[in-house]
Subunit: 217 residues, 2 copies
Amino acid sequence: MLDLAILGLLHESPMHGYELRKQLSTKLGAIRAAISYGSLYPTLRRLQTAGWITEAGETPAGDADVPPLTSRRGRVVYKITAEGKERFQDLLAQVGPEAYEDAAFGVHFAFFSRTDVDIRLRILEGRRRKVEERREGFREVLARAAERLDAYTLELQRHGLDAADREVRWLEELIANERSGRTPPPRGAEGELRASPRTTDSARPLTARPGPDDSAE
Amino acid sequence: MLDLAILGLLHESPMHGYELRKQLSTKLGAIRAAISYGSLYPTLRRLQTAGWITEAGETPAGDADVPPLTSRRGRVVYKITAEGKERFQDLLAQVGPEAYEDAAFGVHFAFFSRTDVDIRLRILEGRRRKVEERREGFREVLARAAERLDAYTLELQRHGLDAADREVRWLEELIANERSGRTPPPRGAEGELRASPRTTDSARPLTARPGPDDSAE
DNA sequence: GTCGCGATGTATCGCGGCGATACATCGTTA
DNA sequence: TAACGATGTATCGCCGCGATACATCGCGAC
């Protein structure tokens, strides 16, 4: 699951670990907590061993004025390989029941712009189904066991029911939108995001920053 | 964190593992997925070793109608010990920053009826604070980086923002309610168990939120 | 003018908890 | 009577988190 997320980000542009984590946090912030280094670095090594990504040396070797006095272990910039891109597409299309789970769904969703419409629909519908079941669970508890639960537990159920209900509706909107043929989600009234009906990466991503500078802001 | 949940449930009544899992699932269903046996049984053993719980022989309190004709290694019924109850109270009152995390908050909340009011308020306010920060994070991303993100990522942010906003309001209601002295959550009127179909911001003034001049509404 | 401190950066370790799996009994249904 | 799903206890591998360590850099405080 991290594999997909990392490959997806590196697909957009090469990055070093720290930056990767930051981007992951914002991109998936709505879905899961920030990824820990204890997961990130081992995963990076695994991906590297598998050949999906490679280290792109970051240290500008051309600087003769500042010799590496302290065995300077600079940042390690990773970039995705051709095999990595293939792998990424494979993972994107692999829609098992796990893809409807909270975290996995979020990751898949986050890369929907690179996913085919039919896969998108399959995922959205599977997710909806899952959340609907969840919602029914809450309803049942509230209907059948309300007297046996204390007020706070009850309140928790209500909140859960409400959240599930809301997500179902959200998914329904998204599904309807996908079916209508409009690729991006609604509300994008003024955005210039219509340029990507294709999933090929030939087009320069909008996210590419003009400067070679890599500092966040 | 499982410790608290398990002790809490066993505090209500003795139970065997399977039942424990089920109750846990419904009681905490709004918060975390069902606890796995791979966590449950080791935890039970740990609690037992620590002396917080003991195995109580499976004997359902004086019934002669169904004789155990095949008395094989039946279910193992656990019950909480006096030390366990103490431990439970300790854990309940231990309100560190972890208690504001999603899962831990939910567990604490689920046992609020056994928690003192001041602790309840501390937890609710800490949680609110945390979710507010989360919410601001979403707002910032949406305000500052909207052009650099694709439509789906953006939509994810919006959904996250909405959920966070909703939880903050929920917490605010709960806090107000606690302060007002009424112990259990509101909505004591039974019968209504449908999700409220309101779509946009509620008309309730509630506590006048410090609207941060944003153009959100 | 240097000192601390927070941000940036790479990396490891322990361990809590998940998912899969195995195995056994029971009641219901085909 | 066989199949099936619910009930029940238990283990194993492994993913990922949180804490921690260590190093460099820029910046403001003193």
